[in-house]
Amino acid sequence: MSVNLHTQRADPAPPPPRPGRHQSRSRRRFWSQLDLKAAPYFLISPYFLLFAIFGLFPLIFTFWVSLQDYGLAGGDASFTGLENYSKLLADSDFWNAVVNTVGIFILATVPQLVLALMLANALNKRLRGRLFFRLGVLVPLVTSVVAVAIVFTQLYGRDFGLINWLLEFVGVEQHIDWQSAKWSSWIAIATMVDWRWTGYNAIIYLAGMQTIPKDLYEAASIDGASPRRQFWQITLPMIRPTIIFTVFVSTIGGLTLFAEPVMFASNRMDGGATGQFQTIAMYIVEQAFRNFDYGYAAAAAWLLFVLILLGVGINYLFIRRIGGAK
């Protein structure tokens, strides 16, 4: 079998003295060399092939489209340079979406990460039924974002919602129409995000906390440091890489927020009557698939990307300062 293979691709010119063993060895060396050199590329090729088609191409093409006045699919396109961008930067609807997105992001992320830190600190204590508590705080992960939004939208209902009913007990007699105002809709959407992700972040922090050597705390206790002080002086600085990671993930997730506000607006893209909770992602979809202005939507997508880079950068500087302050 192997000899057959060889005769097919054999070099006809010099017939080697002892065909059988010698040849099969050199041929095997050829194949194993090829294997060593090429196999790694073969193994990573599926990923990079997909990346080229569904990652790199859309990114570059988005930029190209954003420089054009691009109508319906297959329709006319004309090169307009940076006109889409200058139009966007003067578009109050776009800025409204930016303000909403950043507002909801801050309203959701700050309490979420602070609560997650406290929760992780509690989960890090000696507890009976540890697995139960860990699973308990992760339960929200099983619900889809759509499901969360549906349930919370009902809980925030004006007339029969549980939350308005509970608020009556603390003296808020007038039922709140949560969708109608900026502040109330932002709070409602932020709580949806928080409910789903606080436990997840707590578990990530917990993983970081468990790598901190226990004798650090024992030494601090002997020196008389209070638990609060230990948390600030040992726990926080030691899990800084984990905090940076969660802040990055929350920034990207928060600035691309879509499903919660869409469902809160009964599956519409406008984000309420005056766009009081329309996010940038909703704005992009509205421009592209409701108004069919592809070029404009593509420009908005690139500005969203710039905003994410800005957000990640600012957060990074901010955290570095916190952790480094001694």
């Binding site: 194993s32 050199k37 196999a39 790694p40 590329y41 193994l43 990573i44 599926p46 990923y47 997909l50 990346f51 088609i53 569904f54 990652g55 191409f57 093409f61 988005t62 699919a73 509690a122 989960l123 204590k125 139960f132 508590f133 860990r134 308990g136 705080v137 992760l138 339960v139 929200p140 099983v142 619900t143 889809s144 759509v146 549906i150 349930v151 009902q154 409910w195 436990g199 578990i203 990530i204 917990l206 993983a207 226990k214 705390y217 206790s221 899990i239 984990t242 990207i252 879509f258 499903a259 869409v262 992602a281 992009i284 592209a288 592809y294 939507a297 997508a301 690139w302 969203l304 990640v312």
Partner: protein, 294 residues
């Protein structure tokens, strides 16, 4: 016996507790219990409404126990033709299983190469994956992706919601890390000396060793993909939706029929609840394993 051994430290606990930084105070326990309650309540609320009538749903005070109408409500969801709920459920199962299986295989392939093989450009390529993980491709590329699907004639088909999700940088990164710590270099070298080809090493050495990591990646991919909403909403038609798209149409078309919506939502969550109950321990372990640590 146990009573005695426990009595020892317990008696001294008054003196020790001040120094033990890992003691859980009653306040800690109450706070944790309250958090778990808050975590579970919205899901429990979903079950309450899904098993009751629309009149109960607007009752004051609100009902706090499940009722007996669940079967009837499920029937009603399945019979609501404009929601195409069963199609959505089946489609989601097809899409999510295909994506999960492929992502795990692709990631295990690439993870092996990045962690244990030597080739030119390795660090550069791995770095490029890390950087692109920061780019929100779903939102950024939405217009060209849609046009790509139009020109391929895939709009409205399941291919359009499977293929873009096979690109998963997180999976490659995770399997690279996992392979690096689960497979000793010597093991690969030994197999090499024995004359095994790279693919044979992958099959006989790598796969058995990284199976736990694959399971965790599969769980996470399944949960993430099951919940995907924005892109399917755009590229699929109402007649051939995934389950998330299906309940969003249900919500839009029957906005006052809470019971119908909640029952659909509960059904859409059910597969993930099953996964969570069956593999909860692995999910927690996997999250903590994969977390960036100090």
């Amino acid at each position: 016996m146990t009573a005695i051994t426990q009595a020892g430290p317990a008696r001294r606990s008054g003196a020790r507790s001040k120094r033990d930084p890992f003691r859980a105070t009653p306040l800690t326990k109450v706070a944790l219990g309250f958090t778990v309650l808050l975590s579970i309540f919205p899901i429990y609320w979903m079950v309450i409404i899904a098993s009751r009538t629309n009149r109960d749903a607007v009752d004051v005070p609100p009902p706090l126990l499940p009722g007996g109408n669940l079967g009837e409500n499920v029937q009603r969801v399945l019979n609501t033709e404009d929601a195409h709920f069963i199609t959505g459920l089946v489609n989601s199962l097809i899409v999510t299983s295909t994506v999960t299986f492929s992502v795990v295989i692709i990631s295990t392939f690439a993870g092996f190469a990045f962690a244990r093989l030597h080739f030119r450009g390795r660090n550069l390529l791995l770095g490029s994956i890390l950087i692109t993980m920061m780019v929100p491709l779903q939102q950024m590329g939405i217009v060209p992706l849609y046009q790509l699907m139009v020109s391929l004639g895939w709009v409205g088909t399941l291919k359009a919601v499977i293929l873009p999700y096979l690109l998963n940088g997180f999976g490659v990164f995770m399997m690279t890390q996992y392979t690096d710590q689960a497979v000793p270099d010597e093991l690969v070298e030994a197999a090499r000396v024995d004359g095994a080809s790279t693919m044979r090493i992958w099959w006989n050495v790598i796969l058995p060793a990284v199976r736990p990591g694959m399971a965790v990646l599969a769980l996470q991919t399944f949960m993430l993909n099951w919940n995907e909403f924005m892109w399917p909403l755009i590229v699929l038609s109402p007649e051939n939706p995934t389950v998330q798209v299906s309940i969003s149409f249900l919500t839009a078309a029957h906005s006052t029929d809470y019971v119908l919506i909640f029952t659909g939502t509960a059904l859409s969550v059910l597969p993930l609840v099953i996964v969570f109950v069956a593999f909860g321990r692995q999910i927690v372990g996997g999250l903590m394993e994969g977390a960036v640590k100090a």
